[in-house]
Each structure stands twice: as C-alpha cells, then as structure tokens.
Symmetry: C2
C-alpha cells in the first residue's frame, strides 16, 4: 500500500472514508492511489464489513457527522457490491467514488452478461486452491528462511541470495503471501567469499537463484540499528561484503537487483516478472 | 487479493490487462474486484512499470494483438498517473478502465487544487516512517513467532494465541507486512490445558491478547497434511484441544474469533478494528 503519511503536508481538513462490504483492503488501496496525487494530509477512517442495511445507514450518519464537524464534504472511496447498500451509502453528503458501481455497468454491456452481485468470493476463499497455495507458500518460506533448511529446495519457485540484511526475508514472505510463490532465501556470508564459491546447496538450483544487493552505506545503516558499532555493521565490512557478493553473482551468472531504494512490493513485482513472465493464465 | 480462479467457470475468451506505471498491485486488486462480479474465466496479463512512452506504445501493440487473436476487445484495468502515458495507452482497441484518470479530475475540482501527477510516492517509499515500521514489524513478528521469545513482548501491539495451526503465524505476518502491526504469537498447548492456566508469560499482557480458534474438523484436516495419522492430528485430540482453548479464552476474558472460513485478510481486518478501532489518523 502506498505511503502518503508525510507529516510535512498541509492538512486538507477533510475526512476520507474507505467503505467496503468486505475487508476494505481494495477500497483503501484504491483510495490511497488516488489521494497520493494530492499533496495534502487527510484524516482517514476505514469502515470494513458494511454488509447490512443498518451498517449502511450507520456509515451515512458518520459521513454526515464528519461533514458537520469539518465544514468540508468527506471523500468516500468504496467497493460496495450490493446495489441496495451502495444506494443507501451514496445518499450521504460525501463525495462518492465507488469502484464497483462505476466500472461494473460498462463491463456488463461489453460482456453481454449481468454481474452476479455477490460479495467477491471472499466467503469461501479459504477453500480455493489459490488461497491454500498462499498459506503453503508462507509456511515454505518460513522454514526456508535464511538458509535454515536445504531440504526440499527443489520445490522452491525462487531462491533469494544476498548478504545479511539485504532484504531477503521480507521479500520472500511478501512473494509467498501475495502471490503464493515458494520463496526460499539463503545468505551469502564471508565464509563463501573466502572460499570464492557460493554455498554448496545452491549450484544445482542456479536457474532459480535471484540476488538482492544494496549499497554499502544503506547496509551499514541497517546493520547499525541491530548491532551498533560492531565490525559486522562497519562501513568497511559492508563494502567488502557487498563487493564480494556482487562479484560472485556476476561470475555465477545470477540475476540480481539492488534493493536500496525499492520497497518489497517493487522488488517482488520485478522478481515475479523474471521468474514467471508477465502472463498469468487462469 | 480476491481469488477468482475457479476452473469451473466458462471461459470469456477475453484477455484482461493490468497496467501500471508502478508495481501494478493496485491495478490488479482493482481489476479483480470488478471481475469477480462476473462468473467468467479471463486470460490475465500484468504489465507493471509502464513508465515510458516506448513502454506505453508496446502495451498498445500487445492489447491490439490480443484483440486480433481473441476476436473480442481486451479489458484494460490501469492506474496510470502520467496523463501523457495514459493518453497513449487509451488509444488501444481495448475497453479502458483507469482508476486515476477517472477519479482524480472530480477530486481536483472538489479540493480546488491540481494533482501532482507524480507516480505515487513509491520512489522514496523506503525512506518513509510507515515503510520502516512495516519492515520492523515483520522482523518483530518473525522473532516472536510461536512463542519463540518472551523478550520484548511489552513492545507487541497484539499477541495472538490459539492451538497449533489455528492460523496464528500467517495472520501475524500479514498484520506486520500490511499494517506495520507488531504481532507476536503464542501457542496454547496441552500442558497449558492440564495446568488450567495460560502460559506464564501472557497474563501481564492480557489486554493485548487476541485468540484464534478453528473447528476441530478443519484443524484435524490441516494437521493431517503435516503429520498424517498422528495423535496430534486425530479428530479426538483436535476436539479436546479446541474445547480446552476456547474454554480458557472465555474464562480469561480473551477476545477471539474463529478462523475456519476466514482468510488472513479478513481475520487481520477484524483484529485491526479490535485493537485500533476503525480510525486511522495521519
């Protein structure tokens, strides 16, 4: 989810609501991507699970109260599937932007079929193959974090390599959680650099390796938060490890990217393209 | 992200594109929430990082090729921030649905200011406090997984409790990754039930405890995948553990919910409401 909590922005004196009959995650992602286009600070309120007439009326009351309080129309981002509930909420005094109602009608016309008006598939999501794969991938990534287990590396979709604290663990977990990718991760440590060889468990899986690197300056900063003043965190050592790791990845033909200014979302999307291409077939 | 990969749905013979100048995560979430309203199977292609004129033209070619191949207009969900790039992409033969262009203009009017037309804040996201909090929370949740460490439980925002495999670990990681919540988790085990007391590290943090339960049938299913035919996985044992855990949570006044049919997104949203209320102030 994009960040727009910049404390230096001027306040808009506006309340923003994210309303959904489900978790509200899409409504919030949607709203954030629109709001980041403005250099203003908004007061934000999430109202998930608005799935009954009563809750819809309650949402309207809250929106109208905020209007009275702020003196400005609240902005309402919603993903309301049921027309009945959307109709109630839209009667509030807010400025309404609804994903489903805006885009489903033109799509009904284009496809020549009516929409089902169900609340996503979220109620039986836990039975779906895709959901089970995600949970399995999380467990896989956890047991294969930081080179913990060599067992079953053959089952990995990708094996991330890089120096300690280059971002491997959060990226593995994100790939697993968001995309159901079985992502193992394996540290490159000074022992490997001295031997001039990558860890012995890895060469047979060369085609699945993906490297993360980072600038020595940033690495030293991150390591100093953990172990202040240590040799491990010193800029000299970080320079040595990063140089060696990058040289090793080049020598071994391992694809890699620098995580320095990239979020785990951006790193994961790039890796996903590399290992899966941009096509997903269902 | 909602699941709609139901293999039993009839094919729409349509190609769907998710296009973004960033990671495409919002475009995909947006598209999925609209497409789940239709009982049809779509061929889906993600095109992230479309951030130059060349890449925009390339996207147009691909959309037009799909049209020629399918004989049906592709559906294009996009979150293109730069008007210049959006204008190029919109010239393709697809049916275009763009989040930013649709909603930013009315918001400019409402707010009386122009939008910044930057690509989110994603380029300096790693410097933001919110991003650092998320990474810190992931590390916290990992070191406090499954009761591994009692140290620093005082720093936890929430401590999930429940029987083994009730969904604590993936929920903790999701809370950390998505919301920057420091979520520890702690198992309730037969030893605790025999003593009739919760683990000794927990009572002082009673106000932060949140329980997960699950039906014995589902628990037995999940445990049988790990350790087939074991006593641990048997329905009798699962019934015993679940009954004892629920009785303990009731006795101790711990809030809890059943994870049986809920996704980690739904569980996390509910917990977030409980511990933070529905208001987020920036």
């Amino acid at each position: 989810m994009p960040d727009f909590s910049n404390p230096n922005l001027p306040p808009a004196n506006r309340t923003v609501y994210f309303i959904s009959d489900g978790t509200g995650i899409t409504a919030e992602a949607f709203g954030h991507s629109v709001l980041t286009q403005f250099d203003l600070k908004f007061r934000q309120i999430r109202l998930p699970f608005v799935d009954s007439v009563d809750k819809a009326h309650d949402a309207v009351r809250r929106i109208n109260d905020a209007f009275a309080l702020d003196g400005n129309r609240p902005i309402v981002f919603s993903t309301l599937v049921k027309k009945e509930l959307a109709t109630i909420v839209f009667k509030s005094k807010g400025l309404h932007m609804d994903l489903i109602q805006t885009f489903v009608s033109p799509l009904e016309q284009e496809l020549g079929v009516k929409s089902t008006h169900t609340i996503g598939r979220s109620h039986n999501i836990t039975d779906s193959e895709e959901y089970k794969n995600r949970i399995e991938a999380i467990n896989f990534s956890l047991t294969h974090d930081d080179g913990q287990s060599h067992k079953n590396l053959a089952a990995a979709d990708v094996i991330l390599v890089g120096v300690s604290r280059s971002g491997k663990t959060p990226t593995s977990l994100y790939l697993a959680m968001q995309y159901g990718i079985k992502a193992a991760n394996y540290p490159l440590i000074p022992d490997d650099f001295e031997r001039g060889k990558m860890p012995s468990a890895l060469p047979e899986f060369r085609h699945k390796l993906f490297g993360l690197s980072i600038t020595p300056e940033r690495l030293s900063e991150i390591r100093n938060e953990r172990r202040p003043g240590s040799k491990y965190a010193s800029i000299e050592n970080c320079r040595y490890e990063v140089n060696e790791a990058e040289a090793m990845m080049k020598r071994e033909g391992i694809r890699w990217l620098s995580s320095t200014t990239k979020s785990i979302e951006e790193i994961s999307t790039t890796i996903l393209q590399e290992i899966k291409g941009d096509t997903k077939l269902y």
